[in-house]
Amino acid sequence: MPIQGNIRNFSTTQLLNLINLARKTGTLTFFEGVRTGEKDAMGEEKMAPGKPRAKVSFNTGKLTYAALDNQDGNLISVLNKAGKLTDEQARIIRERAKNTADKALALLLMNANYVSQSDIVSSIQQHTLDVIYNLLTWAEGPFRFDDGIMPTNDRIQVPIDLENVIIEGSRRIREAEKLNEYLPNLDFALKFPENPKEKFKGIHLSVEEWRVVSFVNPKNSIRQIAKANNMSDIEIRRIVYGLEQAGLVELVKPPGMETTTRPGRPAAARAPQVQKNVVNKLIDKIKSI
């Protein structure tokens, strides 16, 4: 039976966990979502799978291969990105080795002493992880897991344990969630505390932090500050969190926002007093239906 759905409902970390625990072999494909105009069971718009965005393969629960569709993931580019081949070397090899499959190319490069085997392994591993951590940030889009389907044989596959990937991925997601919880509403504004000069004394701010600080004004919402600085929601949250924790800025509620009180947790219901023979009677009855 297929494992398919949308990562907005079943996250990539959860998928990796499933593949790891069930020791699955096959390929997970992520697609661009194509709007259907139909609603799913939760009332959200159903997305049909469109163009593939990424493919990730697994062998008995280990990550062996990952590629983004819009990214050239061949061996030369991977080694170039990892700094094992210079731009010039990469250009020359690309010209000479056109149409050479990755595995054959790896042998050629090692024989010519361009790179070592461990260079190749570590570069591919790093590339695979980069792809995974990138797609872990995707919040939306259809996916499908095809049992037993593997990438073509000429790709070099370096097995990576999923546990660490999941832990690191969850850490990144938890951070995002925590920040979300801390600052759910980006319509808040920022202001300086009473004696800002004192507070800022001796503090070293990063370039990004300075950029945010320069916009601090109760009239600017955090959302507007993020937009002006071309920052993602998570980036701006992280910076505001740091500044606020250090006492350098204070949050200002947007006008018209009331504080909401959460309803208390309901008291636990009483457990029934039932005898064993009652349960046995029920069992016999249902068996006989």
């Binding site: 079943f10 499933l18 069930a22 219901a269 009483r270 457990a271 029920l282 069992i283």
Partner: protein, 177 residues
């Protein structure tokens, strides 16, 4: 006369009414209402607004009631009332609708907090071509090893019997443990 009750819960359209209907000796007293919002209407025509209610009479002294919760969250003020005094509960999951898994898990946790009674999870609609396998669902919903996750087809009486029996066995085990 003693009455005992079990609660059949789960997300919207997971098959709760169907489940109770398959086993109840009385026509299910269902408080189904035509669906009001357009979004939900596309899923199905009728939804349970207050609760479903099925009955299994064991003998003159013992009756089992099956209560189905309304699947839509806006009726969840009813849940705690239904949970009061239950012997155990079944969480129905539509195995073919992964978008509802998170909701299913959240309903499960809510009921677990109401009362420390045994429960089982029914991986319903296993006859559906898109259904996730029960083993995959266990991992997906992060169901602990000690909790039963049972493949189910709510339209099939034998399958419903199996789910209820497994729940009763768990209840028995807990009493003996």
């Amino acid at each position: 006369m003693q009455t005992v009750k079990m609660v059949i819960t789960g997300p919207f359209s997971s098959g709760k009414t169907e489940f109770i209907r398959s086993i109840s000796e009385i026509e299910v007293v269902s408080t189904e209402r035509e669906i009001s919002t357009e979004a939900e209407k596309r899923q199905k025509d009728a939804t349970t607004v207050a609760m479903d209610f099925g009955r299994i009479t064991v003998d003159d002294d013992l009756v089992l009631y099956l209560f189905g919760t309304p699947g839509q969250r806006r009726f969840d003020f009813m849940w705690e009332i239904l949970a009061e005094g239950m012997l155990g509960f079944v969480v129905m999951v539509d195995s073919a609708k992964p978008e509802t898994f998170r909701e299913a898990k959240s309903i499960l946790e809510t009921f677990r907090a109401y009362a420390p009674t045994p429960y089982v999870v029914a991986a319903n609609k296993q006859d559906h071509p898109d259904a996730w396998a029960a083993d995959d669902l266990r991992i997906a919903l992060r169901i602990e090893d000690g909790v039963k996750l049972l493949p189910c087809i709510a339209k099939d009486k034998e399958s419903v019997k199996n789910v209820l029996l497994e729940l009763l066995y768990s209840i028995l085990e807990e009493m003996e443990g």
